[in-house]
């Protein structure tokens, strides 16, 4: 239809009146008021005064606005988006742990090209699927501002060019003048480095290799050499042991490969069908392993040989020569004999004869081929110190023209080496920071960080682990493998668009393993193991017994041990290992002389006294700490402290603790008889996250004996307090998800891996020693540790009403109350019973209560409840009244007392641009003055929900988990959807052992704990109140 319709705007237009036509010619039909504007009438114009007013205001406003300097921030988008990299979506690469030099499989979480977290590789079931605190903390070494920027010569202030550097090194290596070249490495499990050294040797035939480990297990390797003809550390499988007897081996915390041992150990610790393993621990110091034992008995480590002999005798049906309280040795022997082939005896001594006895015992019990695998043996940490000692004496005599230290730091831990190495004219180190060895070197060939490198490791014979780079090199480093080959005259240029290190690694793979390299790297590990065999035993127990009986006894002994966080000290420059409290003493940021209560009482020493300790002609001054559970006459100091870090380190890592490696001497003797100890001062304040060690008889932790549990699955957990009437109507979770958590006190060892995993996932700041002294650690998750003490003799105590009234204590009872302990001590005039201690660990985090006391008291609704059962914290809304923190019965809320990021007073990784790269972009970095707490990893919850939604499907059962549960080596923490009937959490919630902590106040938490069952002959000692 033709548009013949016509619309008009007015009657004038319709009629086309004359006026309309003339005026319509102009653009503005009614004309403009130009005359009025240009007239002198002031009413319509801005006059001079107004102008000045506006001008003045504008000037003022602009000036004020200009005072606020807007920081320039650059967000640079990808010009060409790399394949698979989508901003906001993490990528996971299978790789190897960097804190375990021998190799340990894990996944590296990478966001926008930055590795931000380690997660366990759950497919590598042999290794257990957990990580420890040290493994998590070690990621900070990638973003350490003290990393070297490029190759350096001694005295250089700035890095050199690689070409010039290489020229110098090659000249030096060629001019050794008939002397040898030494390459010092840690116990080498890397196939790539092996090959590189071999290639190096073809150029420099005068090369010797020396393996060095700061912590020696030579007692085991030498005994195995004698007994089986193989100088190796066997592979242990604690999951095959129903009876475990450990003589001072802290296998859950520090001994050999605790991450794997924990997972294996935990498998038998949950009493399914009324069965669980039985664990005896005989030890001097209070270790994490001892804390988890069913029967823990204090003994002197210097007498460990005698106890082993006693056990050996008992197993042979003879009466043991010496015994521990309650005939523990005989009992252990009986239990072991009942579990032949299903048991394991281990010993933490580094003495060949002790270990030979252990081997004899295990052979007698038939544990080889089940719990002990010497065929597919462990390959890490097996360096013998004699090899290094030989190197040192040769170096002293001037036999070496050059030395190359590859990825090790012996000049920190070996006091004897320092002087000797100085005699070698050319000292080359491949390192990533200026460590103690690098500072003594003539040439520092800056290495690539392990997260920037390719590698193939073989931690166990037949088990290979692949490491791949997850970030482009941050600085001008070069892989040590490439450096060795460059010096040997090899061509290390990139080829086909791949780095030399990649090509070289691939070639090593093709020649030594074979198969699909890409598939292997993607999976992260290859297992190609042999069937377990029982080796032929050629050891002689009687020789060892004779050697042991010739030992001299001393009044006291000093034990050099490792801490769960710091271990040998190699990662002592990463702050999380220090901020993580020691699982037993709860001390952060220090090492100390650990003293037993009877010794402290007898000498009138107190916590924080400064002691002068002399052992092996080495003297140190160190503060002391009383450690319940420690055997009388024994003292302990942790190794791994006293690192000499670069001068640029200004935070608490500087001058941290005392280095006691020199005490161990060249023979790696960690138990020193007859140490001289005297008090020289007092007043050191430890930064402890928990200072009250008794549970005060409160019904917070529930426990029962295995026998009671067999009779009644509700043992120890039969009484539930009546829930008070609630003012609030309960939440309706019938639709959607309902998140919950269960924590099994039986499998939790207290290792504290979850603390570091949680902190790194959730950007929890490091606050340092001083702030922890003020009790302001920021951990969202903590592990409470309580002691209770066994009463050696029956006593009636007269106590005041307020302290619980008169009590009658029977021998064998456990005291949990501070006042009762004090009274008992004064009545019996003894504190020996402090040695016989029972320990419990309880992870404590936000309980996400349905009736949360924190939620009602916040004046601004900054903490609220979600429809999925989460107790949420809105940081933006928080004004910081801290009322919620006060009203939290679990005391899990943490307040930002200071601004912890970009603050030079908290000069850790949050304070510099490099360190900040480890921040998880999914989690807000909290500002000063707001409250924070566990969020049940809400970012993971949301991400999993969104993924399912985007893929248009229902969320799968246990599709994801939270950071603490994910990393737990013993699988004690389980998180999931309680609305999903198939989820693990729904099953665990119905477990007879499940209970809520302080349920009587009616908070209705979303976390249930599972009663601790101890494999011990006794009834429940926790009475229901």
């Amino acid at each position: 239809m033709n548009s013949s319709n016509k619309y008009w705007k007015g009657i004038d237009e319709l009629q086309e009146s004359q006026d309309f036509v003339t005026s319509n010619v102009n653009e503005f039909a009614e004309g403009l008021p130009l005359e009025k504007i240009f007239s002198n009438d002031d009413s319509t114009r801005a006059n001079r005064r107004d102008f000045l007013k506006y001008f003045g205001f504008s000037l003022g406003a602009v000036t004020l606005a200009a005072c606020n300097k807007t920081p320039v921030q650059n967000a640079i988008p990808y010009i060409v988006k790399p394949d698979n990299v989508t901003p906001g979506v993490p990528l996971y690469y299978a790789s190897s742990s960097i804190s375990n030099g021998e190799g340990f499989p894990l996944l590296v979480k990478v966001r926008e090209g930055r590795p931000i977290k380690f997660e366990p590789n759950k497919e590598a079931t042999y290794f257990g699927g957990g990580l420890d605190g040290l493994a998590h903390s070690s990621i900070l070494s990638l973003y350490d501002t003290n990393r070297l920027r490029g190759p350096m010569k001694a005295g250089d202030k700035s890095p050199q060019k690689w070409a010039d550097f290489d020229k110098e090194v090659v000249t030096a290596l060629n001019n050794v003048g008939g002397k040898s070249i030494a390459i010092v490495t840690p116990t080498n499990t890397s196939l790539v480095l092996d090959q590189a050294i071999a290639d190096f040797k073809t150029k420099y035939a005068n090369t010797e290799t020396v393996a060095y480990e700061p912590i020696s297990y030579s007692g085991i390797t030498r005994a195995n050499q004698k007994a089986f003809g193989k100088a190796v550390i066997p592979a242990y499988d604690f999951s095959k042991a129903e009876v475990i007897v450990s003589f001072g081996a802290d296998f859950l915390g520090t001994w050999i490969s605790p991450m794997k041992f924990q997972s294996d150990y935990a498998k038998n610790r949950v009493p399914k069908d009324g069965k669980m393993s039985k664990h005896y621990q005989f030890e001097s110091l209070m270790s994490l392993t001892g804390a988890n034992a069913d029967s823990r008995l204090p003994m002197k480590m210097s007498k460990v040989g005698n106890y082993l002999e006693a056990l050996y005798a008992a197993l042979n049906g003879n009466k043991p020569k010496i015994e521990l309280a309650g005939n523990a040795i005989q009992q252990a022997a009986n239990d072991l004999l009942n579990a032949k082939g299903r048991s394991l005896v281990v010993c933490g001594s580094n003495d060949e004869n002790d270990q030979m006895l252990v081997n004899s015992i295990n052979i007698m019990l038939g544990n080889y081929g089940s719990a002990i695998d010497i065929t597919n043996h462990y390959k890490g940490q097996s360096a013998d110190e004699n090899e290094f000692n030989a190197f040192v004496s040769k170096a002293k005599s001037g036999a070496y023209g050059a030395v190359i230290f590859v990825g090790c730091n012996p000049l920190y831990s070996s006091a004897s080496a320092l002087e000797a190495v100085a005699k070698i004219p050319t000292r080359i180190t491949t390192a990533i920071t200026m460590d103690e060895t690098a500072t003594q070197s003539t040439h520092v060939a800056t290495d690539l960080h392990p997260l920037e490198s390719w590698d193939i490791k073989q931690p166990y014979a037949g088990r290979y682990i692949f490491a791949q780079p997850t970030i482009s090199p941050v600085f001008e480093g070069r892989a040590s493998v490439s450096s060795l080959l460059a010096w040997a005259g090899g061509d290390i240029a990139d080829k086909d668009g791949f780095t030399h290190q990649y090509n070289y690694t691939k070639n090593v793979f093709a020649s030594q393993i074979g198969g699909d390299f890409n598939a292997a790297v993607e999976k992260g590990f290859i297992e190609n193991v042999l069937a377990l065999t029982v080796p032929s035993f050629s050891g002689n127990a009687n020789e060892s017994i004779a050697a042991i009986s010739s030992r001299k006894a001393a009044d006291n002994e000093l034990i050099l041990y490792q801490k769960v966080g710091v271990r040998d000290g190699s990662f002592g420059n990463t702050p999380w290992v220090h901020e993580m409290p020691d699982p037993v003493s709860k001390v952060t940021w220090d090492n100390y002389l650990s003293v037993s209560m009877p010794d402290a009482k007898a000498n009138k020493w107190e916590d924080g006294d400064i002691m002068k300790v002399t052992a092996n002609t080495v003297t140190v001054e160190i503060p002391m700490l009383i450690q319940p559970g420690q055997a009388k006459g024994t003292y302990g100091i942790a190794l791994g402290y006293g690192r000499e870090l670069p001068e640029t380190v200004k935070n608490d890592l500087k001058d941290l603790g005392v280095n006691v490696y020199p005490m161990a001497g060249t023979s790696a003797n960690y138990v020193i008889a007859g140490a001289k100890i005297e008090k020289v001062g007092s007043g050191h304040e430890f930064a402890q996250t928990q200072t009250h060690y008794s549970i005060e008889g409160r019904d917070i932790v529930r426990e029962a004996s295995l026998n009671a549990y067999k009779n009644d699955k509700k043992a120890g957990n039969s009484f539930h307090k009546p829930q008070p009437i609630s003012l609030w109507s309960s939440h309706d979770y019938s639709k959607g998800h309902h998140w919950g958590m269960s924590i099994d006190l039986n499998s939790c060892t207290g290792c504290s891996a979850c603390i570091v995993s949680c902190s790194i996932e959730n950007n929890v700041p490091i606050v340092g020693r001083d702030e922890i002294r003020r009790r302001r650690e920021m951990h969202w998750l903590r592990i409470d540790r309580y002691y209770s003490f066994e009463v050696p003799e029956s006593k009636d105590l007269e106590m005041s009403i307020v302290n619980g009234g008169d009590q009658s204590l029977q021998a064998g009872d456990y005291i949990t109350q501070e006042k009762v302990m004090e009274e008992y001590s004064s009545v019996t005039n003894s504190s020996d019973y402090y040695q016989n201690v029972k320990v419990i660990h309880q992870p404590m985090l936000c309980q996400h209560c349905d009736n949360a006391p924190c939620e009602t008291v916040c004046p601004v609704l900054a903490t609220t409840h979600s429809s999925e059962g989460l107790n949420q914290m809105t940081y933006n809304r928080c004004i910081g009244t801290k009322y919620c923190g006060n009203n939290c019965p679990y005391k899990v809320r943490r307040f930002n007392w200071f601004r912890y990021n970009e603050n030079e007073k908290f000069d850790y990784h949050f304070a510099n641009d490099l360190g900040k790269m480890v921040i998880n972009p999914d989690v807000t970095v909290r500002s000063r003055g707001v409250m924070e707490k566990c969020s049940f990893c809400v970012q993971r919850v949301q991400s999993a929900k969104l993924t399912a939604k985007r893929e248009n499907r229902k969320m799968e059962t246990d599709e994801f988990t939270v950071a603490c549960a994910q990393t737990c080596p013993s699988n004690a923490i389980v998180f999931g959807d309680m609305n999903d009937p198939n989820s693990e959490i729904s099953k665990l919630y119905k477990d007879e052992r499940a209970y809520h902590v302080i349920e009587e106040i009616g908070t209705r938490p979303s976390i249930k704990y599972l009663t601790k069952i101890r494999n011990k002959q006794e009834s429940t000692n926790q009475k229901a109140h």
Binding site: P859, V860, T881, K882, F895, W897, G929
Partner: protein
């Protein structure tokens, strides 16, 4: 005026109307004395300490205090409750005693009310600055906003505090100012300088002393007294609910509202006595603030002190009777734990010390009353400290048990609030009549 034969006169010394005006206007119209300058200087220095420590707190963060992960409230809220408590006597004297027609209140109500207002100022500092982000304090007010559907939480006792304190402050301020108007007019009328005439004229709001004005004045005063009376009870009741509605053993107690109100009146009278005894001595007001006044106030102290003491004992008995281990431990810990010294200080100061007022000599001997009034002030500070800190430092899970000791910043802020208080009080004593002239004139027997 009729004078009962068995009662002592409320104002002694045979004062005439003219004497009253002269006596009370003297400090205002003369140059300040050297003792005034000394006191004012010390107070002003303390005020600077307050400004400095608060600025440092805001600049650095709450970390400059020593509160920690378990004891998140320490000296701050202790001081808050302490100062709010002190602020109770003023309204009680001016409102409740007005309704009960207690004429002896007339010579002390002005300064008691002033004290109330200054104390509430001091108190308000603490809930404000104990916030991690004080610059966002206005978020605690239910004001319409552009942040989306954000609103305050009416379940939170802290919000109730906001309303209670602000209401109390505004009503007290109006009441006080209203009472001042006739006296300000007197000063205006006697003014000799232009500035004085202007300012006092401005604040007298055109008071002309007509019968109609007086009539309205009386009615408004009575209405305000009626409004204030429930406030005397409500403010500290609500403050006590900060604790009573929580779950923390030692806080979660239904006895708190009456116990806190009695404590507040107790501490308020303690402070009124402290101040009046000084003012009386320095300004020679013995004829206006007679021993009769002192005796009446010491009786109030005796009564409320005993109520508070009874509450302490009741609390303990209830805890023992409850069969609830956490509650029992909380109270045992107060008495015998690491802060036992604070508990026993409190018990001595609040329960034992005021019992001396059973003796007539104690009630009428000013220097002795002064000592006891200081003891009462100390005791009441410790009461709040005991309630707040000893409950928090050891609550449910022994793993989180801690000790708490104030930092120099917290001490400085507390000291500083005394600076603020006394600076205000010295300025008040210099520029405003500290005794209500117009009311006092109704209770003297002028022969003229």
């Amino acid at each position: 005026m009729y004078q009962a034969e068995i009662r002592q006169p409320l104002v002694t010394g045979g004062k005439t109307y003219s004497d009253v005006t002269e006596d009370i206007c003297r400090p205002i119209e003369n140059k300040p004395t050297s003792s005034w300058w000394l006191g004012f200087t010390i107070a002003a220095i303390c005020l600077f300490v307050l400004v400095g420590t608060l600025a440092w707190t805001v600049w650095e963060g709450l970390g400059t205090w020593n509160v920690n992960k378990s004891v998140m409230w320490g000296w701050d809220i202790t001081n808050f409750v302490f100062w709010v408590g002190i602020g109770h006597a003023g309204t009680l004297i001016s409102a409740i005693l007005l309704l009960f027609r207690q004429k002896w209140r007339m010579s002390i109500n002005r300064s008691a009310e002033a004290m109330t207002i200054f104390a509430v100022f001091c108190a308000a500092i603490f809930p404000l600055f104990h916030m991690g982000r004080v610059w966002l304090a206005f978020w605690a007010l239910p004001i319409p906003n552009a942040f989306g559907s954000l609103w305050v939480n009416f379940n939170s006792p802290l919000l109730w505090d906001v309303f209670a304190i602000s209401t109390y402050l505004s009503v007290s301020l109006v009441f006080w100012y209203l009472g001042l108007i006739p006296d300000i007019a007197t000063v205006r009328d006697r003014a000799t300088t232009k500035a004085r005439k202007f300012w006092y004229g401005f604040f007298a709001m055109g008071w002309n002393g007509s019968a109609k004005s007086w009539g309205r004045y009386e009615v408004v005063a009575l209405i305000l007294a009626g409004i204030s009376t429930p406030l005397v009870l409500s403010v500290h009741t609500i403050v006590s609910m900060d604790f009573a509605t929580s779950v923390i053993p030692g806080w979660h107690t239904t006895i708190f509202p009456p116990y806190f109100v009695a404590g507040a009146i107790f501490s308020g009278f303690g402070m009124v006595l402290t101040l009046l005894l000084i003012a009386r001595h320095v300004m020679n007001y013995q004829d206006y603030i007679t021993t009769e006044h002192l005796e009446a106030m010491t009786k109030v102290i005796l009564l409320t002190g005993s109520i508070v003491g009874l509450a302490y004992i009741t609390e303990f008995v209830i805890a023992a009777y409850s069969g609830y281990e956490y509650e029992q431990y909380a109270f045992a810990n107060r008495m015998f734990g690491p802060y036992a010294w604070a508990y026993w200080t409190m018990m001595f100061c609040n329960l034992v010390a005021p019992q001396v007022f059973w003796s007539k000599w104690a009630r009428t001997t000013p220097w002795f009353i002064f000592i006891i009034s200081i003891v009462v002030n100390i005791g009441m500070w410790f009461e709040r400290f005991v309630i707040i800190v000893t409950s928090l430092h050891r609550d449910f899970l022994p793993s989180s048990w801690v000790m708490y000791h104030a930092s120099w910043v917290e001490v400085g802020i507390f000291l500083g609030t005394f600076g603020l208080f006394f600076t205000c009080f010295f300025l008040f004593a210099k520029f405003l009549p500290v005794i209500n002239m117009s009311e006092v004139k109704t209770i003297i027997k002028d022969k003229e």
